[in-house]
């Protein structure tokens, strides 16, 4: 019986959401019969999560646009499905042609969050591929990783044959060409890996000593998927995603994305109008999201929203709003529900993280939004930031309380439902806070509890689990010794760890211990400015001196202007300044 027949006859009737496992979406690539290179593109999470990811859609498009390459999708099956697959000896397969992974030349994973790494091992095991690179035979698919987690290859280096650093759209074409020529000349796996190590943006753990991030210089011409497979069941983000910009000019010190995607690049308005229209027409979506790290920094955001909403029954949305967005009404047609991220409660901390926002600004925007008809306002904050004191945590509650109190002054017919979401800060590589250790689990819990005690009862509080942020911190700034801990955690049953219902701290704690590490101490270790960092050999494009100076400025509460205002010479532009003309 073929894989598809077994699925239909034996498996799909008894699993949750069977449509996850059967492909057949509008917009999915037809299996290419003649392709000499088969690339299984994997997202180490559930179907509906992976199908919502823009980067995944872009890579699928890029690979399938290459002659000779057939790219097919693979997602992590839920546990009920994996059990059924094992019972009926069905290996992990691709959704386009129901081929086992071992038939592919490449098996590439998009690593978006640290805790998804054990799902890679889970998917490798379901495919019958050894977890460790060193154990893989000549005929085994080449196991590849890409995505933001790869900027520190150390904790994952033993699992992957190739790790892409930066924007793989840029490095993939040469990578694939190199593979083709190796095949043509009869060279084997090792010869290819050796050659791949020479490509910019490619790190081969076995052969590379260092690697430089690759990124798209001419972003206006960046590959753009007009049509991606459209999920038959509801994806987490079920809408057209138009990438209007990449990178960010703001320089918030806690934000890894703000550094590893530098410099800020924007597409011209005309290009975006064309691309957005084409996406909507081809997909049939009735919603379009203008994607970017700080979309409202795009100067023609309002024009885009206006154009898309007026041309069809389309809702245009932004993933996030900045508090200093000049004109709320222009951006959001309906302000009934808004989300803002002041990130820190006290001015001292907002300056330390370079949020460049005053309390007056926050209060006035919140009040303005309320008076314009906002009924639900959500505020995002972080605890555990370097240099944070108890008072800074209390300030989160005080600020939220003040916003609520202000909203009660004018006698308006509607009331404001205010909610506060607190997440635990995790220090990340290639940021000014990479030198700092994570705050302890107890201290994080105590700060959250203090906020809860102080917050008015009418304000709803939600918060992330300090325990999972400790594991995230341990992995994100980990060294190669963390590979063993990850493997142990997987062996102990840690899968879907980024889902709170599956996350089990004790599993991770025990796994680190088995690998000879104390999890919490490992997450808390700090590095001196002079020390050699585990990821020090990765050149992201920003000078270490810049990070050090930012770290010092953070301690002293000094802000750095955004790249729009003036260049702080981070190292990205050798000319000493980037141009942000659209």
């Amino acid at each position: 019986m073929s894989i598809k027949e077994t699925l239909e006859k034996k498996i799909l009737h008894s699993v949750e959401k069977p449509a996850r496992y059967i492909g057949n979406e509008y917009g999915a690539a037809e299996p290419k019969e003649k392709a000499s290179i088969r690339f299984a593109l994997a997202f180490p999470d559930l179907y509906e999560v992976g199908m919502s990811h823009l980067g995944f859609k872009i890579l699928y498009h890029v690979l399938n646009s290459m002659e000779d390459v057939a790219c097919e999708r693979v997602f992590a099956p839920a546990l009920d499905m994996a059990a059924k697959m094992n019972e009926h000896s069905v290996p992990l397969y691709s959704l386009e042609s129901f081929s086992p992974i071992t038939e592919f030349s490449f098996f590439g994973f998009s690593l978006q969050y640290e805790l998804s790494i054990t799902n890679v091992l889970y998917m490798l095991e379901l495919s019958g591929v050894p977890a460790f690179s060193k154990d893989r035979a000549e005929s085994c698919p080449i196991i590849v990783a890409g995505g933001p987690c790869c900027v520190n290859p150390e904790p994952i280096r033993e699992f992957f044959d190739v790790i892409f650093i930066g924007e793989s759209e840029e490095s993939l074409p040469l990578f694939i060409e190199t593979y083709k020529s190796c095949i043509a000349s009869g060279e084997g796996r090792q010869a290819f890996l050796q050659k791949a190590a020479g490509i910019e943006g490619v790190f081969v753990p076995l052969y590379s000593q260092s690697a430089k991030r690759a990124y798209i210089k001419d972003f206006a011409k960046a590959p753009f998927p007009a049509l991606s497979p459209i999920s038959n069941i509801e994806a987490i983000f079920d809408r057209a995603m138009l990438e209007i910009m990449r990178g960010c000019a703001r320089g918030c010190r806690f934000c890894q994305a703000g550094y590893i995607y530098r410099p800020l690049r924007m597409k011209p308005l005309e290009t975006l109008l064309d691309q957005g229209r084409e996406m909507l027409a081809q997909s049939g979506y009735n919603e379009i999201s203008l994607c970017g790290l700080s979309s409202t920094d795009y100067p023609y955001c309002g024009s885009l929203i206006q154009a898309f909403t007026e041309e069809g029954r389309v809702k245009a949305s932004l993933p996030s709003l900045r508090i200093d967005t000049p004109d709320l009404k222009l951006i959001e047609k309906s302000v009934s529900s808004l989300t803002f991220a002041p990130e820190a409660g006290s001015q001292r901390m907002r300056d330390a993280i370079n949020k460049n926002l005053s309390e007056e600004q926050i209060l006035s925007v919140a009040q303005q939004a309320y008076e314009m008809g906002c009924k639900r306002l959500k505020l995002y904050f972080m605890v555990g930031l370097p240099g944070e004191s108890d008072e800074d945590a209390y300030a989160i509650a005080d600020l939220a309380n003040l916003i609520l109190a202000n909203s009660q002054k004018p006698k308006l017919p509607h009331s404001l439902a205010l909610s506060v979401s607190v997440s635990c800060f995790v220090p990340k590589p290639h940021t000014p806070f990479m030198f700092n250790g994570q705050l302890s689990r107890e201290a994080l819990s105590e700060r959250i509890a203090a906020i809860a005690r102080r917050l008015y009862k009418k304000i709803k509080l939600s918060y992330s689990d300090p325990a999972s942020s400790v594991v995230e911190a341990a992995l994100s700034r980990g060294g190669s010794e963390a590979c063993a801990a990850i493997y142990e955690a997987y062996k102990a049953g840690a899968v879907f760890s980024s889902w709170s219902e599956h996350f089990d701290y004790s599993q991770w704690e025990a796994a680190f211990l088995k690998a000879g590490l104390n999890l919490e101490e490992y997450a808390q270790r700090s590095f001196s400015y002079e020390s050699e960092l585990p990821w020090g050999y990765i050149d992201i494009g920003i000078d270490k001196e810049f990070f050090v100076s930012e770290a010092i400025k953070a301690r002293e509460g000094i802000c750095t202007p955004s790249c729009f205002e003036s260049c702080s010479a981070c190292g990205i532009s050798r000319e000493g300044k980037c141009s942000f003309e659209v």
Binding site: N24, N232, E234
Partner: protein, 216 residues
Amino acid sequence: MKYRLSYQKNDSMIYVSHLDLQRIFQRSFRRALVPVEYSTGFSPHPRFVYSPPLPLFVSSACEFLDFESIEGKADDIQKKLANALPKGIAINSLAPLGEHEKSLKALLYRAEFHIMLEGAANAKNDDLKLCYELAEMPFEKIGKKKKAVVTNLKQGAGSVRFEAGAACVSVYAELDASFDKLVRPSAFAQTLCEQLEPLKGAAVASIRKIGLIQAP
């Protein structure tokens, strides 16, 4: 202008629920650039009338969707739509809906289902027929106040035929499939396997809605 689309739900589309199918149709119409009438109100949505939800895992040769469009020719709409639908949804016909044609509510009464059962190798047609005539077909479902209610599925069934083959038994059952009364074909199949001695141990291989039965 009102139109009636008759379509099939085949292959992997059987894993897609009615709610998801509605989203698929909305997007397909937009892709096909067939403008449809929308409801008014806070969140306008296309004025579509679908045949009653088809359960998961059941394929169908005859599902319906009524819609309004200012677009002219039915042929054109059909062509455009055919290209915009995902594989597994096949159009039978698309035609303007005349003034005096029955609404879906009035049209849909019962449907004939083809149920394939596996693992009943020694079943004989005559035995099956006799057993069915004598059987009660009780089915327990959770009613409105979360209380279990037992219904006799025979009350919602018309003629039922059996065709025992070498490996499988085919059951052709006419079951209520209207907006207000419907018998779930999977419940009917499962109860057959429980109640009919020759079908003990058999399992459902597939279910397909194959035709409509006009109201008497």
